[in-house]
């Protein structure tokens, strides 16, 4: 017995297929119109505009401090706003807070998991956040009493369904932004552990994130194994811009100090600069001789220099405007896995698979 609903469904299906075809055409037309418009604006490259800019001289940067104490690969580090303290995390499950001036260890926490891939200092300097293979991001308030067991006050904030790759406090100690191997980023309330917003759009693991400088508003950029760098609106959860020019995983993203652009470092051995208002890649920092992936990038205070930590144990320093390399720094005995410039720009710190951190100035 034939169901009387089948003819209706058939009509519906035909109508939907028509709408589908129509929308596909509209979508294709809009996409090509967009490309046309964008191509018109690509009138020149950044390094061409920067030809008249004075070249940079020789740079002498050396290791000024070596922080020893981790028992295995250093995976992540972050500076405290006081410009002297540093938090670092390692494959051995340890999270250490250092005084970079004296190289003294001030706090140490042993996480219940190995591969603590992410750590961050709270803006107040009173807490640190970390996580990794435990799929969580936990916050540890830092006690002035050195004897106090930090693990006792631990607060579990974020829960992902795969490893935590990066974390960052927002402008206060109250909210944390996380990225994960589960392909999402998320914004959490620290006090309650509540998920405030989630960000879906990456097609694979998200490896890194960076918050826009506070003057530029509520956005952040993330990079992933899908070779995409996405810019997100923190309030709506929408992806507002997306860039896909890298040829491999994007390991690191960092905003240019003005907030108008961001740099990325990738396993394809290049760093790139994307301008948000031009909505395109405007520079690529590469050399034929550099064949190992970039793990971590950061800008100097003025944005003129871009520091890149590489898997070939070196740090390459790039002239952001001219696109040329101005220095190559040696010292680490294994991959450089993390790199951050200090808050006042007087130095930068690198962490390595050689178990150490180095301060360069």
């Amino acid at each position: 017995m034939r169901s009387p609903l089948i003819p209706e469904m058939a009509t519906q299906e035909v109508q939907l297929n028509e709408t589908l075809a129509h929308l596909k055409t509209e979508s294709e037309t809009l996409k090509s119109k967009l490309e046309e418009e964008r191509a018109k604006l690509h009138d020149v490259e950044l390094h061409q505009v920067a030809e008249k800019v004075e070249g940079l001289g020789q740079f002498v940067m050396k290791t000024r401090r070596t922080l020893k104490g981790h028992g295995n690969k250093v995976l992540c580090m972050d500076w405290c706003k006081d410009k002297r303290r540093i938090v670092s995390s390692s494959q051995d499950g340890k999270v250490i807070v250092w005084d970079a001036f004296t190289t003294n260890k001030e706090h140490a926490v042993t996480m219940p998991c190995t591969w603590v891939m992410a750590c961050a200092y709270a803006p107040s300097g009173c807490a640190v956040a970390c996580g990794g293979l435990d799929n969580k991001c936990s916050v540890y308030p830092l006690s002035l009493d050195k004897n106090e067991n930090l693990a006792a006050k631990k607060k579990s904030v974020a829960m992902h369904t795969n490893y935590l790759s990066a974390c960052s406090f927002t402008n206060s100690d109250m909210q944390i932004l996380t990225s994960s191997g589960d392909g999402t980023c998320a914004l959490w309330d620290v006090e309650s552990g509540q998920l405030l917003q989630s960000f879906h759009g990456h097609a694979a693991d998200v490896l890194c994130l960076d918050l826009a400088p506070s003057e530029t508003g509520n956005t952040f950029v993330s990079g992933g194994c899908d070779k995409k760098a996405n810019v997100w609106d923190m309030r709506s959860g929408q992806c507002i811009q997306s860039f896909e020019t890298h040829e491999s995983d994007i390991n690191s993203v960092r905003y240019y100090p003005s907030g108008d652009a961001f740099a990325s470092g990738s396993d394809d051995a290049t760093c790139r600069l994307y301008d948000l208002r031009a909505d395109r890649e405007v520079a690529i920092y590469s050399k034929e001789s550099i064949i190992f992936g970039v793990s971590s990038v950061d800008f100097s205070l003025s944005g003129r220099l871009l520091f890149g930590g590489y898997n070939d144990y070196t740090i390459n320093v790039w002239d952001v405007l001219k696109g040329t390399r101005v220095s190559i720094l040696f010292g680490h005995e294994n991959r450089v896995s993390t790199l951050r410039v200090s808050p006042d720009g007087t130095a930068f710190c690198t962490g390595s698979w050689d178990h150490t951190l180095r301060i360069w100035a």
């Binding site: 017995m1 034939r2 169901s3 609903l5 089948i6 469904m9 058939a10 299906e13 939907l16 297929n17 589908l20 929308l23 596909k24 979508s27 809009l30 967009l34 418009e37 964008r38 018109k40 604006l41 690509h42 020149v44 490259e45 950044l46 505009v49 920067a50 940079l56 740079f59 002498v60 000024r64 401090r65 001036f101 004296t102 190289t103 240019y256 100090p257 003005s258 108008d260 652009a261 301008d275 208002r277 031009a278 909505d279 395109r280 405007v282 100097s300 205070l301 003025s302 944005g303 003129r304 220099l305 952001v320 405007l321 410039v341 006042d344 720009g345 007087t346 130095a347 930068f348 100035a361």
Partner: protein, 79 residues
């Protein structure tokens, strides 16, 4: 009889695809309406920022050892 669930699956799938494409089309429309800056103007902005802040960039300018806490020549005492 067996085509009934098959048809409704098709419809549900088609509806989702239509929805997805409508979202994409609205994003594309917004992008086309937004005026992007030409690379020359955007680059000029980046250059200006660099030059304005260059003198306050310690790693760029190099600051004397006396001003940089990491460059101090005094030996560290281990207490």
């Amino acid at each position: 009889m067996s085509t009934k669930p098959h048809s409704s699956n098709n419809i549900a799938h088609a509806r989702r695809t239509v929805q997805q494409l409508r979202i994409e089309a609205s994003i594309e429309r917004i992008k086309v309406q937004c005026s992007n800056k030409p690379v020359s103007k955007a680059s000029a902005d980046l250059m200006n920022y660099c030059s304005e802040h260059a003198r306050n960039d310690p790693l760029l300018m190099g600051i004397p050892a006396s001003d940089n806490p990491f460059k101090d020549k005094k030996p560290c005492t281990i207490l």
